[in-house]
């Protein structure tokens, strides 16, 4: 018996639990962002200050806010609905066309228990840079009023590192070509750390 056969027989005893998955036709993907806890907490502080005075209303079972967010380099009024850790944000572009994006997720507390992400974490998440693969083939990074073309900036391993500054704040962005990106306030995240 070869080592491959031995190994496969031993590990074939492992089986995943039964589960059933249903596709949600209206479910839109969350932005492909990896949000380190430390960054989320730091960003929340800034956002709470920035959002003071924002219109606020409660909807049925959730929270609805009108917020100012950056989309593709333009600051835009958007309606943000939050319910049980999921969000939907709607805004109109310069042509009056309405866009909607949804997402959400869970986080782990210090004891390893799952919990829905909070409103503050969602707002911090929406304030992060985003990477877009445009129809014309360009790859763009959008952060606040900055638009950066990184199409030709990837190394041989398909990795691109971008340093973003807005006032006193510096963000370090690592982009894996067509495989997600990650942001940190302290260092460039290693490509190994995320998908």
């Amino acid at each position: 018996m070869t080592n491959h056969e031995r190994y496969q027989r031993a590990f074939s005893t492992l089986h995943a639990s039964e589960a059933h998955w249903t596709e949600e036709p209206n479910m839109k993907p969350a932005r492909k962002r990896y949000m380190p806890k430390a960054l989320a907490i730091c960003a929340v502080v800034a956002l709470v200050i920035a959002l003071a005075g924002i219109a606020y209303a409660s909807n049925v079972g959730g929270i609805q806010r009108t917020v100012q967010l950056w989309f593709h380099g333009d600051q835009t009024d958007a309606v943000l609905d939050i319910q049980d850790g999921s969000y939907t944000v709607s805004y109109k572009d310069e042509n009056g066309e309405t866009h909607q994006q949804s997402g959400g997720g869970v986080a782990f507390d210090m004891f390893g228990r799952e919990r829905p992400v909070t409103e503050e974490e969602i707002l911090a998440h929406l304030d992060m840079p985003e990477v877009e693969y445009e129809d014309d083939g360009r790859i763009m990074v959008y952060y606040h009023n900055q638009s950066i073309d990184i199409t030709d900036k990837f190394d041989d391993d398909g990795i691109c590192y971008v340093q973003l500054k807005d006032g006193e704040k510096t963000l370090y962005l690592t982009v894996k070509y067509q495989n997600g990106y990650s942001v940190s306030e302290t260092r460039f995240p290693s490509p190994w750390e995320f998908n």
Binding site: F11, L14, A19, T22, F108, P191, E193
Partner: protein, 160 residues
């Protein structure tokens, strides 16, 4: 190509679970990793070039998630020795092999699992875990030597 999440789960959940278990050494954590991995699949608007591409992507997500989990989560469950003692192995040497593998360093376990269980080449593993081929070779070589020491005649010297 794009399978439904249910189809992808039926096809690859066991492979994802085995990869996650080889990192986490916990069935409970491996189950969490499987759920997270397929949730990521469900929410990721990504087309795959082939079934092999899909599987490699799922394994990469699972290994990264499992690695995160072992580093970040406070865990309170069975030791891995207790975990494998409860598994229904076909033969006693299977349990000894898994026991030996789970004693390897985490990074070596990942490479060994992808090589011996999934049948990937060194080059493919390097692409999947985004490390240099030399790094993968060195981890594989170190792991084989350790397995030979632990398993003696139950582990062959049949690889270069």
């Amino acid at each position: 190509m794009r399978l439904t999440t249910e189809e992808a789960y039926r096809a690859h959940a066991d492979a994802v679970f085995a990869a996650a278990f080889s990192v986490c050494r916990s069935r409970a954590d491996a189950d969490d990793v499987v759920q997270d991995t397929f949730l990521r699949y469900l929410t990721k608007p990504k087309e795959f070039e082939s079934a092999a591409h899909l599987k490699a992507w799922l394994l990469r997500v699972a290994i990264n998630r499992a690695t995160d989990l072992t580093r970040s989560r406070w865990r309170d469950h069975l030791s891995w020795e207790e975990e494998i003692a409860a598994l229904p192995f076909e033969a006693p040497e299977d349990q000894r092999l898994m026991d030996a593998v789970l004693q390897l360093k985490e990074q070596d376990r990942i490479v060994v699992h992808l090589y011996y269980f999934e049948g990937y080449s060194v080059k493919e593993i390097a692409q999947l875990i985004q490390r240099r081929e030399g790094t993968v070779k060195s981890r594989l070589s170190r792991a084989r030597a350790a397995l030979k020491t632990m398993l003696k005649e139950e582990w062959n010297d049949d690889e270069p």
